[in-house]
Amino acid sequence: MLGGYMNKVLRINLTTGEIRTEPLDLNMARKFLGGRGFASYTLYKELKKGIDPLGPENKLIMASGPLAGLFHPCSSKITFAAKSPLTGIYGDSNMGGHLAAELKYAGYDMVIFEGSSNKPVYIVIDDDKVEIRDASHLWGKGTIETEKQLKDELGDDFQIAVIGPAGENLVKVAIIRHDFGRESGRTGVGAVMGSKKIKAIAVRGTKSIPVADFDEYLRIGKEMFKSLMSSPIFPEFQRYGTTMVVDWVNEIGAFPTRNFATGYHENYKELNGTAMKERVWIHDKACGFCPIACGNYSRVEYKGKTYYVEGPEYETIGMIGGCCVMPSIYEVTYGNYVCDNLGLDTISTGAIIAFAYECYEKGIITKNDTNGLELRWGDIESFAKLAEMIAKREGIGNILAEGVKKAAESFGKDSIKFAMQVKGMEISAYESHWAPAMLLAYATCDIGAHHNRAWAITYDIEVGREKITKDKAERVVFLQHARPMFDALGVCRLTWVECGLNLEYYAKIYSAVTGWETTLNDLLKCAERAWNQNRLFAIREIPDFGRKYDYPPARWMEEPAISGPTKGRLIPKEDVDKLLDFYYEVRGWDKYGRPTPEKIKELELEVTE
């Protein structure tokens, strides 16, 4: 018996209203595991080259993984994916919460949303009963109210994913949000959902997930829990979550401050884990099956009103607090609330607003462009107003809603040099003026600049930040396979590097669950396959795609960091080219950054027009 998979894919066509199921392609399961692997394979296979990401030909994928929904640690991750409206290439974003498990219980490994509706709808997946329902009463509402209203209407046992006004208005940094605080935040998947006029997806299921060797599964699962929870730092990890790193990132000069002009925020102690815990934190929050509970639920007062939000986690502190130079955790928490409720990615929105502040400071844009709004670093009022203008595409918000790269093209005057993005997606919260491996990780990330795929900054510190060496490329490539492997399996990766859980467990548990004897190398091979598949997707879309799309912004290569521990540092273009040469060599790609025929053959990938 094959376990782990539910053996069923659901297809919902929003244009025709047709709903049908089909058996899971087991060849795909073998080669791509699940989650983001399924998305890579399916989008490459089913999308025609050159389609409009916000048109009916694009498909939105919601895919769980073979290990999601079972009761070993942190089996809670789901992927949303589509051709990205932000980058024009393959895009995906992963979220925790309870949706991945519920989708499996409803009997599906993956849902493919096709076409687009001509009026707002929400989707109800209740085991085998699937309906497209009218959502005109929800359209225009914030994410919090939408999720709450649907919970009231349908019942608490439904797991719900929603978009906010940003997704409705096709803002290219719009998110899909679930469980009042878990987000598929990156690559604009929320805009794709909005283009199909899907306001929400509600899922409830009662089925069981098959497991091939249950006794063995139970044995390994228990061992994983024990190993994870007996880590001597487990209680502290639980207590502080990801905000713990704020001090450290400032000490090493990697906190993205003032639109990445420096890696050091003078008031970082006002933004760190202690500030968060003592001033805004109310309680911890966990995804399904997670003993860590790294999420924080917080409360903040602003202008006499009280707001509740899940967060802020490190990325939000970095991108709103650092990038926009906010004075304290209060402003960051309020900014977090504003973005979440509007349905905006806090990472991209932080980068976009910081870019706007800098353009204003330099006189590239003026009050005439901002409807009279004064833009100032550290001013939460203008931050909140701009976020709203972006979500509603009002005034200058309509330009900023396209992402920082398009905004720079529109503003001109060399602003592209400090538009902090790669491949059109805004860089997340690690300032890399002096972190070559981290810079390479951002430069080569398959979906545009994102830390999640390869978090290599500790490697820079371990082996020497000044080194431009092949081992850095090897490390980045390894991480680009290991971390996405978690996304494909449907489990959280924080158990691994942070809590020290041995990677081998995942091969053992995958074998016990599925009944397919699989090694860790096999799993990593699947992740490599998906990585190359995404590169082929980009090459099919953009004929000259390659090295020139892998450069970081000029700020990191030409303008030294202005203060802090990395003051005066930069990584010149010659060194970036050296890193890319090493990287392509390690990957088995040619010098333009394209997979060689041998590599394509080795990975058993098909290339289509």
Binding site: S231, I233, Y240, T242, M244, I252, Y314, T458
Partner: protein, 75 residues
């Protein structure tokens, strides 16, 4: 004086076991302790003593338990 160190995560494994006891003769700061143990300061994301995050300049007292947190990739 004797101190107990608790740590974990993959990054620090090659420098120090997850639980470690060390004897020191004179008072020293967390930073001195890291140097003594050969752990790069840049790999310690946080130091927690008595449930509170402290600076690396904190002077360690006899019998204290020190938690060394590895960096965590956030968000």
């Amino acid at each position: 004086m004797a101190i107990k160190i608790r740590t974990g995560g993959l990054t620090l494994k090659r420098y120090i076991p997850d639980i470690y006891y060390v004897d020191i003769d004179s008072p020293l700061t967390v930073r001195d302790l890291l140097t003594k143990l050969g752990i790069p300061e840049g790999l310690i994301a946080g130091v927690i003593i008595d449930g509170k995050i402290v600076d690396k300049s904190y002077e360690i007292k006899d019998g204290q338990e020190i938690v060394l947190m590895p960096p965590i990739s956030g968000g």
